[in-house]
Structure formats: C-alpha cells, structure tokens
C-alpha cells in the first residue's frame, strides 16, 4: 500500500497517479511496454487516430534542436478500423486507462471516429487533438480558431459519455480562451501544450532540415513555455489541466503540478529513455513522503505567487 495518495481525477476518470504517456510517443503501447511497466502508469494516450489510415509525411521528419527536437510526422496512423482490430487486443492486457487521441480533418470525421471508438470498453477517455501543426487540413487551422474548438468540443461531447480532454495548441495568443470554450462546450479537461511551430535550415544547402518545412518543437526547450501556458489556464479557467511539455524528470512533474496541472504527460523523454516513466513514478512518491505531501492532488495549483 502506497503511503502517499497519488490518485488524481480527470472528470469521472480516476487515475492511480498523475503520470501518463503522451500521444505520439508511445505508438500503440507494445514497444514501450518492454521498458516500462504500463500497469504502474496513470494512463497512456495512444497515437493520434484518424478515420482512415494516414501515410504521414515523407522524410526527413525529425531534426534535433538545442535541448529539443522538431518533428513533422504528419499523423501517420493505422486508422480506426485497424486500431480496433489489431492494436486494442494488446492494450486490453494491461490494467492502465487507455485514452484515445483523435485527430481529424473535418468536423464529421471527429464525430465519426468518436462514435465508433466509444463503443470499445478498453478506451476510458478521449483526447481530441485540435492542434497538430503538421497537417495541411484541420490541425492548427482548427486549434487557432475559437469557434472551431467550440464546435469540435460540442460535437464530440454529443458523441460520447466518456471523459473528454481537448489538447490545446500553444501557438495562440491567449490559450486560456481556448480552455474556456472547451469547458463551456462540455470538455472535462484540457491538455496543454501540444508542440510549438518551429523550423530549422541547413546553412550550406539553404534547405529546410524537415521536408514539411515547419515542424513541432518538443523536449525540455519548451518546458518554460508549457509551464506558463498551464499557469495561464489555471488562473483563469476552472478545469483540470494535463500538463505536457519537456518533462525530463520527477522535478518537472512536480513543477507542472504546482503550476496548475492535475496530471501530466511524458512525451519526448520516451524516445530517449523509455524506462524513465517508471523511475519518475518512484521518485515523485519519494518526494511526497520526504516533504509531507499526503495527497499528490494537493500540489495542483499550489503556486505561491
């Protein structure tokens, strides 16, 4: 029995601890399960799904940047049908809440994906990606527009009773406004932040290092931005926040919680040390014991400003 109550609540979804793995950094769970015991995690968020399979962008999709990386995968995924048939049976074997991330190009596609996936009992919640910077249709053009985010949230809300999380873009002036419309239209939580738009050039060929020209910046380079965005939402909107952005160790998890997060997602770190999430869990518990924190949820928005 854990001495510390690590559980947190996202709408009606109770997580055994606040540490989840972020969409697009765990595939469909099988590879990472060789390094981290999925049963210990708070939750895992599957790779963004679209109604039909997506091939994704041509190479080069990835480039390293100072303390970060740019990616433009282009939402490559197997599509809803193959996911249900071939990926769910593996994920079913674990006692970990599966949150299904959906990325679509049209309002109808968001609804259709949700309507089909909500029938699958293994899926415990939905995270709606309205903010992918790397696809031509949908993606950021939705995530930048308050009316679109409101409409997607409202439509998806009507298609499922399961907890609904809207994943917000940091590439906006006031992220709290987006959190507000998500809440008003029935979202149970928001996750923040998705990647920041970035670009990099080869100075000799003068060509972009990524075929898509721009990509999404992630990794520890974006952590201060993410902390600021979480704080902005936390101070203005009463909604659970899942903090994401450059978490590299247990201290970052605690910092995200203090800034206003109810839970967090680990992303880029999974590429570098896929065994890290398990270690981080042990260390946050140790931190709580040493510092007399009985309930980890008490850290949420406990900033001293």
């Amino acid at each position: 029995m854990s001495k510390v109550d690590l559980s947190v609540k996202i709408g009606t979804l109770i997580l055994r601890n606040p540490v989840m793995l972020a969409s697009g950094t765990v595939g469909y769970g099988n590879e990472i399960s060789e390094f981290t015991d999925l049963n210990k995690l708070g939750g895992i968020v599957s790779k963004s799904l679209s109604l039909k399979p997506r091939k994704g962008n041509p190479p080069q999709r990835i480039v390293e940047t100072p303390s970060g990386m740019l990616n433009a995968i282009g939402l490559a995924n197997v599509g809803v049908e193959v996911f249900l048939k071939e990926k769910i049976p593996f994920l079913k074997k674990f006692d970990v809440p599966l949150i299904c991330n959906i990325a679509a190009s049209t309002f109808d596609e968001y609804v259709e994906c949700t309507r089909i996936l909500t029938e699958e009992e293994t899926i415990k919640a939905f995270e709606i990606n309205v903010s992918c910077p790397n696809v031509r249709e949908g993606g950021l053009s939705f995530g930048n527009n308050l009316n679109s985010v409101a409409k997607i949230t409202e439509l998806v809300r009507a298609a499922t009773n399961k907890p609904l999380i809207i994943k917000l873009s940091p590439n906006v002036s006031y992220i709290a406004e987006f959190a507000k419309v998500a809440k008003e239209n029935g979202a149970d939580a928001v996750s923040a932040i998705n990647t920041l738009v970035g670009a990099a050039f080869n100075i000799f060929t003068r060509k972009p290092k990524i075929q898509n020209i721009t990509g999404g910046l992630s990794g520890p380079a974006i952590k201060p931005v993410a902390i600021a965005k979480v704080l902005e939402i936390s101070r203005q909107v009463d909604i659970p926040i899942i903090g994401i952005g450059g978490i590299m160790d247990w201290k970052d998890v605690i910092e995200f919680m203090i800034a206003g997060s109810t839970a967090v997602q680990i992303g880029t770190l999974n590429f570098i040390d896929p065994s890290a999430p398990g270690k981080i869990l042990n260390q946050i518990e140790e931190h709580c014991i040493k510092n007399g924190v009985d309930k980890i949820s008490s850290l949420t928005a406990s900033y001293n400003i």
Binding site: G27, K55, N57, I62, V63, E64, N71, A76, F271
Partner: protein, 253 residues
C-alpha cells in the same frame, strides 16, 4: 532490447577523423547480429538531447565495436569519452543482414563510413564464403578498410585505387564474379545506394543494403524514419524497425 550502461575500454582513430570505440557489453554482444544497430546517449544532460544511432561494427567476445566520424556535438563528445566511463546503450535494434543462403561469394560494397557494419559481417562469413570487399570514398582519407578482406578500392578524386565510384569498380570486376552465385551487401551514401540498386537490378544480383535516416527513438515509437516501400504505397516502412537492412528491390532509394 535493453538499456545498458557499459564501460568504454578504448577509442582509437583508424583514419583521420574516423574512430573505433570498444565497449565491454556482454549482454548485447552475445545476441547482436551483423547489420543491427545501437542507439547511444552520449550525455545524461539535455544537450545534445537525442540518442545517436550507430550500426554495430564488430563483436569480439564480450566486446562491441562502434565506428563513427565526428559529425557534430554528439559524436565529438563520444570521441572524447574517458576510458572507463559508462556508455548509455539502447539495443540491439533493427533487423540485421540475412547472411544465410547458398551463395558462394559475398560482395561487400561500402561507401565512406558505410564500411561500419562490415567487419562484423566479414567475421561471420569468412569461414564459409568467399568475400570480396569493394570500398569507396571521396578521397584516400575516406576509404575505410578496417578488418575487411580482399579489398578493392575506388576514390572520387583518384587519390587511392580506381578514380571513380565504388559501383563503377564493381562493374569493372563483374566478369570475375558473375559465373558464381553471389549476394551483395551494401552500405553508404544515398547516391551510392541508388547506383547500386540500378546495377543490381540490371545484373540480377541479390542485394541487401543497410539504410540510414534521422530518427529519435530507434525502436518504432517516434515514427521519425520512414522509407518508401516499392510494394505498398499506402504506408511507409520504418528504417529503425522494418530495417535498417532491406532487400534493395523492396525500397525506394
């Protein structure tokens, strides 16, 4: 697939700016196959952030060898790792070469640092197969012949061996080998692999190549390293998981 911290035993410069790093790693050396690779974290700090992929160069008992040149910050740190310090290794990764088969001659085609996986291939094949190694580079400094057998050389500037490409060198020697059953194993820059593909298709030679692509994780979760399949146009293959070794017919180069 493990994450292991293993001690660096030796780093030697075998060509100008080309290094061979020896590490004591029985866990991986006992199971790794030629053509598989390792993803190395050169520092536990956040810069440089990502691991760097290196194909396994050779295996000697409990020891692994990596071959690399200094490309930037990461490889510079690697070249200066203190002897006895720990190397953070993720591996073995990828599929590796298929060395089985009833061919009589193994033809190795290496361009520049593309020689890296072939000392291990040579070690595994030399008892049972005849090996001819065609090695090319921009100049004599880029020709790497370390632990290869029956080496023939070509350089773009003519400073060593034939003046021209390694595929041209292979073409010049075709008569010598074509009466035998051969299998070609290649690794090198994209332009070389492209020329090799055309040559092998024209001459109906069975050929496997080790490919390269920028990647983050090395084991399939980042989806960062797509390569176009000649058969299935609806999705990409991944260099890290489906490769890095492919039959040259199966991928668009």
């Amino acid at each position: 697939m493990f994450i292991i911290h293993s001690p660096v035993e030796e780093i030697i410069e075998i060509n100008p700016q080309i290094y061979l790093l020896k590490v004591f790693c029985p866990e991986i050396s006992s199971i790794i196959k030629p053509g598989q690779f390792l993803n190395i974290r050169v520092t536990d700090r956040i810069y440089p952030l990502l691991r760097r992929p290196f194909s396994v160069c050779d295996v000697e008992g409990d020891h692994l060898y990596l071959m690399f040149n200094i490309m930037g910050e990461g490889t510079s740190i690697l070249a200066h790792k203190p002897i006895g310090s720990d190397l953070d290794i993720l591996g073995p990764l990828g599929n590796g070469f298929n060395l089985e088969g009833d061919y009589e001659i193994a033809i190795i085609i290496a361009g520049g640092l593309g020689a890296a996986p072939f000392p291990f291939v040579t070690r595994k094949l030399k008892q049972n197969k005849k090996i001819i190694s065609f090695v090319g580079g921009r100049s004599k400094y880029d020709i790497i012949t370390h632990n290869l057998l029956n080496v023939k050389e070509a350089s773009d500037d003519g400073s060593r061996g034939l003046k021209g490409t390694v595929v041209k060198l292979l073409e010049n020697n075709l008569n010598q080998i074509k009466s035998n059953k051969v299998k070609v194993f290649g690794c090198g820059p994209t332009a070389m692999l492209r020329a090799l593909k055309e040559f092998c298709l024209t001459n109906e030679l069975d050929c496997e190549v080790s490919t390269e692509c920028a990647m983050a994780c090395g084991f399939g979760i980042c989806q960062g390293c797509p390569i176009e399949s000649t058969e299935k146009q609806d999705h990409y293959l991944l260099v890290c998981k489906d490769g890095p070794v492919f039959n040259i017919k199966d991928v668009v180069i």
